[in-house]
């Protein structure tokens, strides 16, 4: 069915609200839209149904948040085990290459409006496992992440902080006053990780450049990905065979462009050259 792209009302969102549009179109009633939107925001932010994508240690901290001492029910959040009933997916733990397509499938099976929280440094960047052959370096290579909660494991108070950060983000986004995180210039030059990397002879450089391009496109320099611009597997990502790209067709939204392909080329070249010359 042809999707009328009425994203004027909901600029950065992956869902649109026909109710608001209908009310907006009636001449007299559009004064109601603001308060109605605030009511719907109040309802959705204060009743998160958390989908626990718990794979390893952070999953135990997620369970601890559900129990008596750090009761997450105080925020109205309930941990439900089926994707069909949930609207916040908390990815807690290391996501391996074998698990990534499953997490992607579960994310697709969740109804809109949905948000994603990367809990723990394994989900954010793969932590010290990120160079291992079987670990996905951070879930934002294949999922649009809204809130990152650092820590290994982040204690339950940090998870509370993350949920509240998500609430603020939802309110700001709905009200249209959300401006993406400005790129902190000093992090741009941290191209080479501090620990010297062993070179892998038979890994073709295209793979690394594609991964660099995908990672560069996300948040670090400027436009943060909106949740409806699903992350497209640019080229041949580091995730084993290109399972995710096959399972996920090219989205009709224009793909993530690199701001200055020329400037970045030698940055990438520089990274490769520096990596080769130990």
């Amino acid at each position: 069915m042809a999707m009328k792209d009425n994203s004027a009302l909901t600029p950065g969102l992956a869902f649109d609200q026909p109710l608001l549009e209908k009310i907006e179109s009636v001449p007299g009633l559009d004064v109601l839209v603001g308060s109605l939107e605030r009511l719907m925001n109040w309802a959705s932010t204060n009743s998160f149904f958390v989908f626990p994508m718990a794979t390893s240690c952070c999953g135990i901290e997620l369970m601890t948040v559900a129990t008596g001492r750090f009761d997450v029910d105080r925020m109205g959040a309930v941990i439900r085990a089926t994707p069909r009933h949930c609207d916040v997916m908390v990815v807690a733990g290391t996501i391996t290459v074998k698990m990534a397509p499953r997490v992607k499938k579960l994310w697709d099976q969740m109804p809109e409006p949905k948000w994603c929280i990367a809990m723990g440094s394994c989900a954010i960047s793969g932590d010290f496992y990120r160079d291992i052959y079987s670990v996905v370096p951070g879930i934002d290579t294949f999922l649009p992440v809204d809130v990152y909660i650092p820590g290994c494991p982040p204690n339950p108070d940090a998870l509370y902080g993350g949920l509240m950060r998500l609430q603020d983000k939802i309110r700001a986004r709905q009200a249209g006053t959300f401006e993406p995180r400005e790129a902190r210039p000093e992090t741009a030059k941290m191209i080479l990780p501090a620990v010297k990397r062993l070179e892998d002879g038979d890994r073709d450089p295209l793979l690394s450049q594609a991964q660099l391009a995908a990672a560069m496109g996300i948040g670090l320099n400027g436009r943060e990905l909106h949740s409806h611009e699903q992350v497209v597997a640019v080229g041949n990502l580091a995730i084993g065979r290109n399972v995710l790209a096959a399972a996920y067709p090219q989205s009709d939204v224009e793909p993530v462009q690199e701001p200055a392909p020329q400037a970045k080329a030698e940055a990438v070249g520089g990274a490769e050259a520096a990596a080769e010359a130990p």
Binding site: Q109, P111, A247, Y248
Partner: protein, 120 residues
């Protein structure tokens, strides 16, 4: 004679309107995703590709369990109107409902002894 049935007809019409209104409103005004991913409508099987057909001949034992459930569901349906206006009936209604429940308890005990609920 016909005027006895007017409340029932009104009740039916109201039920039809309310249920269809809810369905239609949801279809028109409900929140909708801009891009529906391909395997959104797959059956949820813990993240795995569901393999094997579900269109198989199921065991008759499931039918037995469904029967026992229907019996006690209907019992609950009878309890509800009785409990709502028990004040008007006086004590005799209590005894009658007690007898009704006793008979159904007998039925439940028979089902358990015959092992209808247990998977032989």
């Amino acid at each position: 004679m016909t005027d006895q049935w007017i409340p029932a007809v009104v009740f039916l019409i109201l039920a039809g309107i309310i249920s269809s209104a809810m369905l239609i409103a949801n279809a028109i005004l409900g929140v909708r995703a801009k891009i529906t991913p391909p395997d959104k409508l797959d059956t949820y099987e813990c993240g795995e590709e569901p393999d094997g057909a579900a269109w198989i001949r199921f065991h008759p034992r499931y039918y037995l369990v469904a029967l026992v459930f229907v019996v006690f569901d209907v019992e609950a349906a009878f309890l509800l109107p009785w409990a709502l206006n028990i004040r008007g009936f006086g004590y005799w209604a209590l005894v009658e409902m007690g007898a009704f429940l006793a008979i159904l308890l007998l039925g439940w005990w028979y089902a358990v002894r015959k092992g209808a609920l247990r998977w032989q």
